[in-house]
């Protein structure tokens, strides 16, 4: 028995090593989200193209949709933009949340690269951003017909990410909404 107890520190080291080794593969930027399975926060903000139009969660209109947080100063947003355009062509409803940006710059940007958004929420001071827990653009939220956030992606949504994280859940939510 005494002999075996000598191996306890060794076993502890092995366990610690294994724990640390498997933690290596984790992405430290992938934060737990506080808002998944919570209602999309209430807001009252202007539309990007039509400043006189006030937007709120009522404008989601019971649709299953993506809310895409973007800005002209965000480089990765340029990378994901073509994929958002093609998603919109496929009929996916995307709402833009223009985050801490200038109206004119944002309008020009969309004119130049195409506008995949059904409408664009203009949030120059990042008010809705803070309520959503946004900490860097781009971020994308999948909102169901009840206005509940079902998935959140921090970072670029491209074809691979869409297929891995969004496609099935999106389809399932659309089917559920149609069944009702």
């Amino acid at each position: 028995m005494n002999r075996l107890t000598l191996f306890i520190p060794f076993a502890l080291c092995l366990a610690l090593g294994a724990f640390l080794f498997f933690s290596l593969g984790k992405d430290p930027l992938d934060l737990p989200s506080a808002l998944v399975d919570e209602a999309f926060p209430e807001f009252a903000l202007e539309e990007l193209h039509e400043p006189e139009r006030q937007l709120s969660t009522d404008d989601f209109d019971g649709q299953v949709l993506l809310v895409n947080v973007w800005a002209t100063w965000c480089f990765a947003c340029r990378v994901e933009h073509p994929w958002l355009n093609s998603l919109a062509k496929e009929g996916v409803v995307i709402v833009g949340l223009n985050y801490k940006d200038h109206r004119k710059l944002a309008q020009d940007w969309l004119q130049e690269r195409g506008d995949p958004y059904q409408f664009s929420i203009f949030d120059p001071r990042g008010v809705l951003g803070i309520d959503l827990g946004v900490y860097g653009a781009p971020e994308t939220y999948l909102v169901d017909a009840e206005g509940i956030i079902r998935h959140r992606r921090v970072g670029v949504v491209d074809e691979r990410v869409w297929n891995e994280e969004f496609r099935d859940l999106y389809q399932q939510l659309v089917d559920e909404a149609n069944a009702e």
Partner: protein, 169 residues
């Protein structure tokens, strides 16, 4: 006379400009925060120390100069002015940015191990030291036995040494 006063004005303008420039430099390094009530300032500082920047992960809000930290600092200030308690402010941010934002995690099932680990490890270490030191301290009878043995051994040693000395002479 007139030119003199003009000169004076010019000098005043220059110094004012300098002061403004310098203050601009100072505020670039640190946000100038003003409170309606100065007693909020220490709480503000304390909160910034304990809240973590979600973007730059090993810095707190006080250290970080990222855009999101600036926004969150302004948010903390706004909430303090609204008379929220420290706990309410932390709760508010936790509801949006998850528990990750708290540098001092709450005690719950997920973090229980973190909080308990230092205590458990110190106790464990103490226990091991205690056991090892007990094992090494010989009991009274062992002491006597070893002293008896050492007397015999000493005699033998002396004998050997003596014979060696004689042999070498």
């Amino acid at each position: 006379m007139q030119s003199n006063s003009l000169l004076g004005l010019g000098w005043l303008k220059q110094t004012t400009l300098m002061v403004l420039l310098l203050s601009g430099v100072a505020s670039a390094v640190e946000d100038v925060v003003s409170f309606s009530d100065e007693s909020l300032r220490p709480r503000y500082q304390q909160l910034l120390e304990e809240l973590r920047c979600p973007k730059c992960q090993n810095q707190n809000l006080a250290d970080s100069n990222s855009a999101i930290s600036q926004d969150l600092r302004a948010e903390v200030q706004r909430l303090l002015e609204q008379d929220l308690t420290d706990a309410e402010i932390k709760e508010y941010l936790k509801n949006r940015y998850s528990e990750f934002i708290l540098y001092r995690p709450e005690v719950n099932r997920a973090t229980g191990f973190l909080w308990a680990a230092p205590v458990v490890l110190v106790l464990l270490g103490g226990l091991i030291i205690l056991r090892l030191s007990r094992r090494k301290t010989p009991s009274q009878s062992e002491k006597v036995a070893s002293s008896v043995r050492s007397v015999e051994q000493q005699q033998r040693l002396d004998k050997l040494l003596n014979s060696h000395k004689r042999g070498s002479e």
